[in-house]
Amino acid sequence: MAILQIKNLHVTVETEQGTKEILKGVDLTIRSGEVHAVMGPNGSGKSTLAYSIAGHPKYTVTQGEITLDGENVLEMSVDERARAGLFLAMQYPVEVPGVSMSNFLRTAKTAIDGQAPAIRNWIKDLRESMEALKMDSSFTERNVNEGFSGGEKKRHEILQLEMLKPKFAILDETDSGLDVDALKIVSEGVNRAHETQNNGVLLITHYTRILRYIQPDFVHVFVAGQIAEQGGRELADRLEAEGYDRYVKA
């Protein structure tokens, strides 16, 4: 049983107009086996929360703490956080020219496990996951995300989630830009990883659509850098009916 705790998190970014506080005291606790949905309007700070957990250098934590099983995450470098068991599926996955997907995945797996994966199982697992995500095997020879469509990039993120087996998966708008078929495929991948690995999931989304495929245990409404309300599934249904207006005006 692992536990990711975020307490009173305040985060700023540097803008042309000076320092701007984006997260204004976020509290969130996620345990293994739980699925948390964070829902909020554009610009409310959802990606900032995701990036801050992953350690993106652009974001400065000015107050509060993040711990993973009691260890101080904020003192870890980006790669240390990943090796400790945190995974961020990015809203905009990055292209890496000249680096093949197979090389990238093997290098990442080796870094995270501290040893190279047994080759035969690795190839078999990779092939199975790619088939399930409906990714052609030729992708492994292509450069990381280079020339991938939006949907292919998102499937590649979920492939990494399945192969790297983190304790906690933070999915930043993995659903945005996907058509219904792709959304189903990606959601099934998330569910598969969740069931087989018993990971904790932080599902960040703007729309309720993905929650038809991925069942959250907890829903947090995120507005202006804070959690405005929390509850169970029913909160998502209410958001679907009423939108965010009620929170934004308040």
């Binding site: 090796r83 000249g98 090389n103």
Partner: protein, 391 residues
Amino acid sequence: MTASTQAAQHGLSEHSHGYGVPVQTRSERFSSTKLADFAAVSKREETWRYFDLDKLAGLDQAGLAEFSGDIGLTETNGITTSWVGSENPAFGAAGAPEDQPSAAAWQSASQAYLVDFAPETSFETLANLAVVGTSSEAEALHLIVRAGAGSKAGLIVNHTGTGNLGENVEIVVEDNANLTLISVQNWSKGSTHLASHFIKLGRNASVKHIVVTLGGDVVRVNPSAVFAGEGGSVDLYGLYFADAGQYQEHRLFVDHAMANCRSRVTYKGALQGEKAHTVWVGDVLIRAAAEGTDTYELNRNLLLTDGARADSVPNLEIETGQIEGAGHASASGRFDDDQLFYLQARGISEYEARQLVVRGFLNEVIQQIDDEALVAELTAAVEAKLERSGS
């Protein structure tokens, strides 16, 4: 036509050009084996536009000493080598100097070291010619590599040690011959090397020419390829990696004077550190007679840190409409922090992430080197550079 980048933008920015007008029409460039026929070196000349003239190290002056270091094949393997004088017909068979240091070296070297691959013979492995500099005096060296008609041959010229060298390399590839020539410049700190390569291809000859520039304070290699018969094919590859304070220049010229020839130019450079400076100029001339020409040239530069500068100038000059294809691409971009974050977010350390990206970038050229030992040596040299940068 100039694409100069000083670590400004994120990622690789593409510059696509229409056919541009070169600064000086390449077809009219002057050549002579005598230094006295040239005016003194000047910044007004296109060829010296980027070069710091204080760094010529005397190599543009007459009376250079003859190369005093060691030169020789590590294994002879049936290849004939000899020193030949300027009366030998091989001397000057491939071309003549187009700049002052080349002319100075030409007239200062009383003999040339000839590596001769016999006609109609197939040499299975790449031969290794070690050129080891041992002096910091201004010196001249003249090499001639001849691939006899119908031969299949390969040679690595590996420049190491301390040198202050003006060098001419004549590369004669006779009819139907196939030659791979790899020139490695991996000098010690404090070295200067100004080289001109003259490649002459006979009918249906093919050449793979690879320049690898890693070590040395100032290294300039100017390869030119001329087709003397129809049906020739030339691939010019280059890989360079400049550290803080290093200057590396590569000026290429492909002269399509014959019909139905093919050329490809692929140069890739990495740069890191204060005042690392690279210059790539690619001139391709398609003369009126060169119908059916097929040519493409590409240069890409990866700036790993601030303070480095890459200049990249492709020039395409076309005098006939009847061509197969002609194009060029040039792009310089800085190492992308987002790439670094992405790789690190997958558990990969910063150092390994940089290695991965740089190796991936240079791989297009490295994979052309069909010699395991050399690939291992170059990979280690690239990694040592990355390590030294302290990332």
